[in-house]
Symmetry: C2
Subunit: 179 residues, 2 copies
């Protein structure tokens, strides 16, 4: 997000066919809630168009990247790594120190998985963080993590080069075309 260190999201564990929609949701949630980019494994890279399409219409900056080796990508990340997992430490216990590192200028990589995540990921992570120790959704975990990290500031994120802007309404829909 403008005015903060870099925040990237790495999406692991995409199962072709089964996870098309959830991977798109991960990407769009990352974009909407303050991340600068999402990095997909090669087998998920087919979702790039769906995410880029939203950025084209509603603005950016937001990048979609791909990697043929997510674990290697993670090992070479220059910054801190937050792995969102139901097995990790409660978010309320660690969000303060994560925010402190981020606010001090450390780029963050937020890693979310689908099914089984290799043990390397737990090991490489600076923080394994649980948004409840219950099984639910990597999309939900990412959303709560970003909203807490940015303390709601992401909800006022500014969008550049938007062709369309939604006008908030109590009832109904209004989308304005930007000249």
């Amino acid at each position: 997000m403008q005015g903060t260190p870099e925040l990237a999201v790495l999406r692991l564990g995409h199962r072709p066919g089964r996870d098309e929609r959830t991977t798109t949701h991960v990407g769009l949630t990352a974009r909407a809630l303050g991340a600068d980019r999402v990095v997909l494994a090669d087998e998920a890279a087919g979702r790039r168009a769906a995410i880029d399409d939203i950025t084209d219409r509603f603005g950016g900056p937001f990048e979609v990247g791909a990697t043929h080796n997510p674990i290697e990508f993670l090992k070479q990340w220059e910054g801190a790594i937050v792995h969102l997992t139901m097995y990790g430490l409660p978010i309320r216990d660690v969000e303060g120190e994560i925010r402190e590192a981020f606010d001090a200028g450390t780029p963050l990589l937020a890693v979310v998985g689908g099914g089984k995540v290799p043990f390397d990921v737990y090991d490489e992570a600076d923080w394994n963080v649980a948004v409840t120790n219950q099984p639910h959704s990597e999309i939900a975990s990412l959303a709560v993590f970003l909203d807490r990290l940015f303390e709601g500031e992401e909800l006022d994120r500014e969008w550049e080069d938007a062709g369309s802007v939604v006008v908030p309404k109590a009832v109904g829909k209004e989308v304005r075309d930007v000249e």
Copy 2:
């Protein structure tokens, strides 16, 4: 959640085949983040087993219901209705009054859609609420809404009749069987 008025989630717009995973994520997010039940349209009711399975293993109470007429269900809801939509009012502007109604004892129905949501829903809702006016994910919107409504208290939700409990860890996985 124990100790609060009823909170139900109504999932609209399930497209068979395409939305199986996302509907499961909506249900599991509702459960993990403090809702008492999720109500699915009949065409989504096949996801019930996946959600019930998690409740059987990790505890409840959490119910999965189905309705053949979601709009009628919504019209007959005795309580207030929050419709999560990118076209609505910013969550930060309305979360205070929603929480006030809920804390005063009003049961809440949180409605999330997939694709196109009938206009009736906007009309019946007491609040049309946007977790950003950007397109992203009904799962992410639901997660942020619940986390804000409960102000994080949902993260300490207690689980009854759990067969398995995850023990939070800095690194690795630990699941304990409950006798």
